[in-house]
Amino acid sequence: MVGAGSPAISVRGLSKHYDQVRAVHGLDLDIEDGEFFSMLGPSGSGKTTVLRLIAGFEPPTAGTIRLGDEDVTDRAPYDRDVNTVFQDYAIFPHMSVLQNVEYGLRVKRVAKPERRRRAEEALATVRLEGYAARRPHQLSGGQRQRVALARALVNRPKVLLLDEPLGALDLKLRREMQVELKEIQREVGITFVFVTHDQEEALTMSDRIAVFNDGRIQQLATPVELYEQPASAFVAGFVGTSNLLDGQVAKELVGEDGTFVIRPEKLVMHAEDGAPAADGNTAVAPGVVREVVYLGASTHSVVELDAGATLTVAHQNTDRSIDAALERRQQRVVLSWRRDHLVALGRAPDPETPSPEEES
């Protein structure tokens, strides 16, 4: 295995321009060996383009891509030790499940007994034993997804690229597959590069996440850092619900200039007469409940502060106080929070990726 000093993928100055559109612009990125790495961002943010550039489906406008110690920038897709799980799976319709999974080994002229054995092993890894003889059109969406995964894993690539592979599945199946993908990744020890626009999916599975916007990385961090210490208003808004305090409101409530963010679950809502007093640790702000949204496990209340901002408060439905929360609509309340839960954004989005030593 490659040592910790040599990343599985190393991208420098990578750009891809289509006519006037800058899909990816000046990207530097190191993905560690054995890491579950996610690229998260809205559609059109460049994350899928980066994946396609790494796979070799498109040539970059500028920059280099290294896989391990090899520069693969100018190599064809079939000459790179990466495999892709496509968004629509792209399972060959004229082949059986086994033939699909064997395909990579077949074109590399691996002897038949060995490729049969490895294909069956790969099918077992994705829990599809007994499906070898099926035709793709006899499979459900989730099963096709597994075939696509097995077809890529059987080649034991250095890096597995996954392009929103769970997007076509329903929510329940998606949740199951998230856990399973993570397990499989740990089991096989291959570096996974996972593209998604679903922040929950990224937080669930990843060792590290790169948040993309406008062809650049806005922040690269672990899920915890990303959620607790967002670097910019964009990241704060894209990963989770963000409550922003800025301008005059920040001055009044925080006592400083700048932009601050606080997560909904860190706010506590009190009746007007039961509010704690503000002190060095705790801040309070009065307001009016504008909306109450019941979400099953939790309830979200949207509170318009007298100071001007609108904040969302999350409340776990651990007791039977839900009715009380619902009755608070249009009533005056007081919000309180711990001052150290406020995250100052202020600075511009940092285009630099943290140095690899900070990780692992």
């Binding site: 489906f57 079939y78 792209a90 319709p93 395909y103 074109v107 059109h137 890529a152």
Partner: protein
């Protein structure tokens, strides 16, 4: 299951119009078949009696047989050329985006819409004066291939449009080079489209007369030309009926098969059933 429920009056008139059109098309064709068994040389109506005499004459007519083989050879050769060039053209136009791409696409499809007499004249001139070629079987084949390409090109292009490009990318991603990808992925997925296009192309070439007339030498006679030449010979007329009936079958069967294949393929690809 009707998609739209029409008012009763409209439904009746639509049915009547449909029936009239079908009768006008198919009764004369049936008449040809019937007359090929008519004992009366001048096709008197109603037929005084029925005989298979003409069929046995037609079967033993050397001219008709030669013409049949000539037609089959021309149709096979034109179809072979069309399969190769039509597929390559569709692949080329799919992969690349260049200025004038739509124009090239139109130019490939145009020959099927051009009046046969113009195509025929143009080819005759082109072959004889510019290229200095003797008219032969091959000049017919080349002329036929120009419009046979269209059926293959259209079928393959439609298949590509439905498949999208991800399968080939997946194949390359799994380590297959361009040729292996073509052999193991592209070609198998085009198979039924190629078969349908090829059968249509065979049918088109087999019963073509106008272009053939201009591009054939005086000794090369395809079946339609043989019919045309023998039509007005009183002795040959009953045999012509037999040959015509056979020609109908030869043209209809490939097209029927082509249609069934396209339907099957569509089903297999979408995974319906």
């Amino acid at each position: 299951m009707p998609l739209v429920r029409l008012p009763a009056g409209l439904r009746v008139s639509v049915t009547v119009v449909t029936l009239v059109v079908l009768v006008v098309i198919y009764v004369p064709l049936l008449l040809v078949l019937l007359n090929s068994f008519n004992t009366d040389r001048t096709f008197g109506w109603p037929p005084p009696g029925y005989t298979t005499h003409w069929w046995s004459l037609a079967w033993h007519s050397e001219g008709a047989r030669d013409a049949l083989f000539t037609s089959v050879r021309v149709a096979l050769a034109a179809t072979a050329i069309a399969l190769v060039l039509g597929t390559l053209a569709a692949m080329g136009l799919r992969r690349t985006r260049f200025f004038g791409r739509n124009v090239v696409s139109l130019l490939i499809i145009l020959p099927i819409a051009l009046p046969g007499i113009v195509t025929g004249l143009a080819f005759q001139n082109g072959f004889r004066t510019i290229l200095g070629l003797q008219l032969s079987l091959w000049t017919i084949v080349i002329a036929h291939a120009t419009f046979c390409i269209v059926t293959v090109f259209n079928n393959v292009q439609a298949r590509f449009a439905r498949l999208g490009g991800n399968f080939e990318q997946a194949s390359m991603d799994l380590g297959a080079g361009p040729f292996t990808t073509f052999r193991l992925v592209t070609l198998p997925m085009l198979r039924s489209a190629l078969l349908a296009g090829g059968l249509l192309s065979f049918g088109l070439s087999f019963d073509e007369i106008v272009v053939t007339q201009f591009t054939a030498s005086s000794t090369d006679r395809t079946l339609p030309i043989w019919i045309f030449q023998n039509l007005f010979r009183p002795n040959a007329a009953p045999i012509v009926n037999c040959v015509a009936a056979a020609l109908v079958l030869f043209s209809v069967i490939p097209i029927y098969l082509a249609q069934r294949l396209s339907g099957d393929a569509a089903e297999a690809m979408t995974g319906a059933r």
